[in-house]
Amino acid sequence: MLLLFGQSCDKGLAPIPTSQLSSISGSIHFTGLPKDSVKILALVLVQPPAPFTAASLIAGFNTTVLPFVLSTISFSDTTYTITVKPDSTYHYLGVAQNYGYNLLSDWRVVAFAHDDLDSAQSFTLKAGEQRIGVDLTVRFDSLPRQPFIK
């Protein structure tokens, strides 16, 4: 029993020390004009590999559970910093736009990070790695290929 009480003092779960945290940061630029409404713009960091549907993205938003980091951003050039779990694979980092009234389907990704191919690209950060300068450019007149399947 004393051993168990002794164990209790260990405090159980704890946050990952900052020194072991990984982060990714950069800037978001906007060019061109959107062809339709911009109801919501959000930075999205998607971890699970599948499924990849607009409905799933929004249902996550709507039901308060997100399998990704999502934070609303303004419609102007800005910077961001996101803390990510080390040694975990993220499917993509991007900016998502809700362009219509239907929250279950009216979504598109308007920019990807690591966008050499202008499409989603998975990445993994090591513990403590601070990846900077990961910029995203939202080209409203030249949107990227969509990962979503409607």
């Binding site: 168990l4 009480f5 779960l13 499924p51 039901t63 559970v65």
Partner: protein
């Protein structure tokens, strides 16, 4: 369905025979005897069948002996009689003098020995625990309320062998966690099912804590008496009876959660305070007993988006309709409004929801109403008929989305229950319990659409007593049908035996079967959660189980020991898993898992001073739960569970402490791990609670109890469910007065 009809017919034949052989009390030719007596339980007012009446002369010589009938009645001539000495297992021996009139009612007090309680759940009639061939635990009101719980599930966490994962109860590893859909433990309120019609989950927050008399936990498959859901056991919350004279109680709690140790976790905007007010009144007008209570609770929570407002009311009326009929009805109403916290953002933001905007603004509203009535009719010396009906309505809705204005999920669900149960002791050594029942379910929801279900069942159980052995044999048939789909049927037999060695030593052994019909939620859900589309599974079939245990107990005036080894086997367990649907991945419930659980459980209660000035209780449960096919450990089952309690009374002060150890889940749902950032984070749990209470005389000489308690004294951070830090250290000041 043919089997069900057969059992229904047998039930009516037995009932008819009972009436035919015994006749109604009014027409009984024994009524010419000069004295008619009834033996009843002082607390429950239930008749005590099988009590021994030693009829004594003035010099206390035994003239003859009689055994009370199932109605608790006995009759005797008065010549030469001066006293009656009444004994019954589980009750204090009582001696009364011969009354002047021709009627005598004797109330017996329960529990002469430790652990020798009277329960109603295990055999569907009042039975001493040592006469039951299966493990039982009881939580009593004094212990439940002393912890100032916000809901009944909190009280269950201290019962040996029981853990609670979110709202799902786990008895000896039977349940795991199935996303709040379906319960593998049948939950009853005063003997009637208290599971919602849509999710099949337990509405803990609705139950009237102040009016809970005790909670009975039957461990192991119990579908032979109770039907669906009794896969891993049965929990019956028994509410109080109205008192003869006017009594009332009022209690107020106020408290706060402590600050968390880690700066990363702190959220200044969370208030962390909580408070509650409960009150109740009971009494009897004429022969009608009345009881009512209310509760209002506010909890600011220790996490962002996790606060709640709760209110509830409960009322009960009991009245005798005649000398042989007793009617009881109760109504329960509960309302709740709470934040939408579901999972943490990540381990570094453990008290912040993954979507803070949605969790804070997307509040969840729920309403529950339960109306139930029972009529107990003593139809003859040998036959009691109990008719019960209940309606349980549950409703929940989520606020419209904070962006876009779409309606959130909502559901309306109603259960209509009707049961007829007969208890008879046609032969001195055989006690027969039979019953028929029906359940109609109606669900209207955007999650589950509109569906209806109907369940019909019938059961029969015989207890055959050849002292010192009692054999129990029972069987139940159930048929379940949803909409116009095919019927699902189940036959659930059981067998048990108890052996009373004497001097407080008893042994027991049993084999029981269980089944759980899939809920409307599991069959018909069609909704996207957490980024995953959950699709319907109309072809789900019932889960099945059988469990066996061998155990023994030993009790004296100051020690109670109980031990059991058990084995359970499960088939067709319904689990969520990934499937490919229309070219995309989705989640679907399917009958996937065959599992087995082996384990043992030991309970010690010790009163070293032979009174309740000092008491100790220790319960340890070991389970080895694994998939029979993959040999993998089952999800959400702690292998080790240790629960202990110590309480001491010093004058007007009472000190008590609880310690629980729950070993880390060796396996959790891989889908949840994908959904929840850092979802794999979990640890062993060590939870220490301590409290001190002081009883004083207040205004008008009313006793007032002040208590202060600290829960999770060591501020240990652990999760019961993925991505949810369990309550952190919190302090409660409680004031309670009774009059």
């Amino acid at each position: 369905m043919k089997k069900i009809l057969l059992i229904v017919i047998i039930f009516f034949i037995l009932a008819d025979n009972a009436l035919a052989q015994s006749g109604r009390v009014e027409t009984d030719n024994l009524s010419t005897l000069p004295l008619s007596g009834f033996i009843k339980d002082k607390k429950t007012q239930e008749p005590i069948g099988g009590a021994t009446i030693d009829i004594l002369s003035r010099d206390k010589q035994s003239l003859r002996k009689q055994i009370t009938k199932v109605s608790g009645e006995f009759r005797t001539k008065k010549d030469g009689v001066a006293f009656f000495h009444i004994t019954s297992l589980g009750y204090k021996d009582t001696t009364v003098t011969l009354p002047n009139g021709n009627n005598l009612v004797v109330f017996l007090e329960q529990k002469p020995l430790l652990g020798e309680d009277i329960i109603v759940t295990a055999q569907k009639h009042t039975t001493a625990t040592q006469d039951v061939p299966i493990s039982i635990s009881i939580a009593k009101s004094e212990e439940i309320t002393s912890r100032a719980p916000e809901a009944i599930d909190f009280a269950l966490r201290y019962i040996p062998g029981v853990t609670v994962t979110e709202s799902q109860v786990n008895i000896r590893g039977s349940s795991g966690y199935a996303r709040s859909v379906g319960s593998r433990v049948l939950f009853l309120l005063d003997g009637m099912p208290f599971l919602s019609a849509d999710n099949g989950d337990i509405k803990f927050d609705a139950l009237p804590i102040m009016n809970v008399d005790h909670i009975e936990v039957v461990k192991g498959a119990g579908s032979a008496l109770y039907g669906s859901n009794a896969l891993g056991g049965v929990i019956n919350v028994i509410t109080r009876k109205p008192t003869d004279s006017l009594h009332g109680a009022i209690s107020a709690n106020i408290g706060t959660y402590d600050q968390v140790k880690y700066l990363d976790w702190r959220i200044p905007s969370v208030g962390r305070k909580f408070a509650s007010l409960e009150g109740g009144l009971t009494g009897t007008i004429g022969e009608t007993g009345l009881l009512g209570s209310f509760a209002a609770r506010r909890n600011e929570g220790y996490r962002l988006g996790d606060d709640s407002y709760k209110s509830s009311g409960f009322a009960k009326v009991t009245t005798p309709l005649s000398d042989h009929d007793r009617f009881e009805t109760s109504v329960l109403l509960a309302n709740e409004n709470h934040g939408g916290f579901l999972y943490w953002k990540d381990i570094n933001h453990a008290l912040m929801p993954s979507d803070s905007l949605g969790a804070v603004n997307g509040r969840i509203h729920s309403f529950k109403a339960n109306l139930q009535s029972s009529l107990q009719s003593i139809l003859s010396d040998h036959f009691i008929l109990t008719s019960r009906a209940s309606i349980l309505y549950t409703n929940f809705s989520t606020d419209a989305s904070v962006v876009g204005g779409l309606d959130g999920p909502h559901s309306n669900a109603t259960n209509y229950n009707l049961q007829f149960e007969g208890n008879t002791d046609l032969l001195d050594s055989v006690y027969l319990t039979t019953g028929i029942l029906g359940l109609y379910q109606s669900v209207n929801s955007d999650l589950f659409q509109t569906h209806h279900g109907i369940t019909l069942g019938a059961f029969a159980q015989a207890e055959y007593k050849i002292s010192p052995l009692i054999f129990t044999l029972g069987v139940r048939a159930d048929g379940v049908r949803y909409d116009d789909s095919n019927s699902l049927g189940s036959i659930s037999p059981k067998f048990g035996v108890t052996f009373d060695v004497g001097d407080g030593l008893n042994f027991r052994g049993s084999v029981g079967t269980g089944f759980r019909a899939p809920t409307i939620g599991e069959k018909y859900i069609d909704q996207t959660f957490s980024g995953f589309h959950v699709i319907p599974s109309p072809d789900l079939t019932p889960e099945k189980s059988y469990s066996t245990e061998i155990g023994g107990s030993f009790r004296t005036q100051n020690i109670f020991l109980d031990g059991a080894i058990f084995y359970s086997s499960f088939d067709n367990l319904i689990e969520a898993h990934f499937v490919t649907s229309k070219g995309t991945e989705a989640i679907q419930f399917e009958n996937l898992t065959k599992a087995e659980i082996f384990g043992h459980e030991e309970v010690i209660e010790f009163y070293p001073l032979s009174n309740d000035d000092l008491s100790l209780r220790l319960g340890y449960t070991y389970v080895f739960p694994r998939d029979r096919v993959t040999k993998q450990i089952l999800n959400f089952r702690p292998r080790h569970l240790l629960q202990s309690r110590i309480e001491t009374k010093l004058g007007a002060f009472t000190f008590s402490s609880d310690f629980r150890y729950i070993s880390k889940y060796e396996s959790v749902d891989p889908i949840l791990i994908q959904q929840v950032p850092d979802g794999a984070s979990r640890v062993d749990a060590y939870i220490l609670d301590a409290r001190i209470a002081y009883k004083a005389l207040g205004l008008f000489a009313m006793p007032v109890t002040f208590s202060f308690q600290v829960q999770n004294l060591l501020n240990y951070y652990y999760v019961e469910i993925v991505g949810n830090i369990a309550p952190i250290r919190n302090f409660t000041l409680r004031v309670e007065t009774v009059f």
